[in-house]
Amino acid sequence: MKRFNLLLVALVVCVSLASPALAADTIKLGVAGPHSGDLAPYGIPAMKAAQLVVKKINANGGVLGKQVELLIQDDQCKPEIATNTATKLVTQGADVVLGHICSGATKAALGIYKDAKIPVMSPSATNPGLTQSGDYPNFYRTIASDDMQAKLAVNFAIDKLGAKKVAVLHDKGDYGKGFAEFAKKFLDESSKVKVVLFEGITPGAMDYSSIVQKIRRAKADVLIFGGYHPEASKLVAQMKRKRMKTAFLSDDGVKDVSFIKVAGAAAEGAYMTGPRDLSSIPLNAAATAEFKAAYGEDPGAFFKEGYSAALALLNAIQKAGSTDYAAVTKALQTQYVDTPVGKIKFDGKGDAEGVGFSVYQVKGGKFVELK
């Protein structure tokens, strides 16, 4: 504790020494994430994205007539370092913060920003609770949360497929079971459908005829499956063999060409969620080209989300006319902004609307995005 106090004192001294230099009138954009250590590849692309955005905006006259200044801090994705990082950014006077990268580090840092009334936007923290718990009204993100896929799948099953009885299966793995459990949660919340079956199947088992018979007996309209393509192909093939009309709806793990290749005709008509096709968004291609021109390589993970977050934050300040917390919050939630992940604004909880996943259907041996 003593050492921590000493550290705090040292920090305060450092900051007070530095503050005269920072006193110049600028908009301060904090960037926090892992920039060193084994998880650095997840943080550096977002940092570079922020640098590219700021350079471009400053060249065009800045925000509200002021230049944008970057405050870059490393948190190594560690929650205990992230709190220090956050304190540092707050004391340096950051107006908005782009970060953090890892969900754990983000959660640890958010309280500090919340007390300081600073809007924070992560390009990568997907933990559902960060937005949905309502604990962090200052938090936003430009990536879909972990349960977004399941939510989309459930809404699609209810609204588009008109499901009344839904069977939910998973492959007992982290990914598939997570998806299936979220799906079950959302299905239970809806009064329009009933979950008639919720079970795990053994991946790699010789056949799934018993469970397919069970789905048939339960008279499910839709089967939601959380898992990967090898099991999915077996399931659709056996369902087809049993002449079942049950619609098959699955996740990104199934949206793999192997699924169509292996299941063949049985894959036809199957639905699955997958990341939205961003290739038609001009800003996405432009941002990637900008990165390539600056660094001579392909951007890494969370680059386009980081680019979008930097754009969204600075745009909100511009639209709000000040860096006032309430005004910026209102701008984030009401003003659309064009970004590499699409034209977005944020909902009341902080998730970007329209970002993330779409439903695809196998048609003629191809995945077709359903609008």
Binding site: L169, K172, E199, G200, I201, T202, G204, A205, M206, D207, Y208, S209, S210, I211, Q213, K214, R216, R217, H229, P230, S233, K234, A237, Q238, R241, K242, R243, M244, S258, K261, V262, A263, G264, A266
Partner: protein, 300 residues
């Protein structure tokens, strides 16, 4: 009742495949007391060979059933060759070594063959053509049993009858039984024990290949890893029925298949394996040598 029949037939289909593979384990164990862990890989190789042959024959314009028969026969030939070589390379040099050594050798061969197929072929899942024609049965029969299940059941039945005839009424079958009862005595009366052991491996491999082709064509995919799970299940079936006993392997396979099917159908597929292995534990407590196993005396 209809649901019961559906589950019963599904379990029977799965069980008969387990039985086909379990026979290989049990025959080898009966003669040289070795658990051939690479047996599941022979099954996988059978399926892979059939996949490759199918590809070639389809290019030459062959059709459905003729492809099935040619691919099946070639798969059997290849698997037999692998089984024969396996015994010669990995087990024969260890014939007089302590019993653990060939066991380790078997595990090594299993890993080797898996990775060999992974490297030589592909780590991907491959689509296996539905070789067994899917007749359009009328509802309500269509969803209870389809022609693939029927073909699997009939093929297994015919194979087992042939195997019984081979063991009971032929010269090599007699030699196999003699070797199983007492290897040194069999050698003394002029039986070529090495050849008998090789033949046992070849027959076991042929059965595994038949199982491999049937399953691959039933579920429509092959992968280098399919042998592992099938091998574990078939080994369980062999132990369940009493390892070393041929009718025991068949019974064990069917019991295991039916248990899994009913457990998944009536309780939950989460517990499919729990029930399968729970049954194994239960039977081993009540009858330590398996359902039809004989309590073996240690030969001196």
């Amino acid at each position: 009742m209809e649901y019961f029949i559906e589950l019963f037939l599904g379990g029977l289909t799965r069980g008969s495949i387990y039985a086909l593979i379990a026979l290989g384990y049990t025959m080898v164990y009966g003669i040289i007391q070795l658990i051939n862990f690479a047996h599941g890989e022979i099954y996988m190789i059978g399926a892979f060979v059939a996949y490759i042959v199918c590809g070639v024959l389809t290019i030459y314009g062959f059709h459905g059933v003729s492809i099935l028969i040619i691919a099946g026969l070639l798969a059997i030939v290849y698997s037999c060759a692998y089984g024969y070589t396996l015994e010669k390379v990995a087990y024969r040099p260890l014939r007089n070594a302590p019993r653990l050594s060939p066991l380790i050798s078997a595990i090594g061969m299993s890993i080797f063959l898996q990775n060999y197929v992974l490297l030589a072929q592909t780590p991907d899942f491959l689509p296996f053509p539905a070789l067994i024609p899917d007749f359009e049965f009328m509802e309500p029969i269509a969803h209870i049993i389809g022609s693939p299940e029927l073909v699997i059941l009939v093929t297994t039945l015919v194979t087992m009858i042939m195997l019984t005839v081979l063991i009971k009424y032929t010269k090599i079958g007699k030699a196999m039984r003699a070797t199983q009862q007492d290897m040194s005595m069999a050698r003394l009366v002029g039986i070529n024990v090495d050849r008998v052991i090789s033949t046992t491996f070849v027959i076991g491999s042929a059965l595994a290949a038949i199982g491999g082709v049937l399953v691959a064509s039933y579920i429509g995919q092959v992968n280098f890893y399919i042998g592992f799970i099938a091998g574990v299940k078939a080994f369980t079936a062999a132990v369940l029925g009493g390892i070393g006993s041929v009718p025991g392997a068949v019974l064990g396979g069917l019991v295991l298949g039916l248990t899994e099917s009913f457990a998944a159908g009536y309780i939950s597929s989460d517990y499919e394996d729990v029930f399968a292995f729970g049954l194994l534990v239960l039977i081993l407590i009540l009858r330590p040598s398996g359902i039809l196993g004989r309590a073996t005396k240690q030969k001196v």
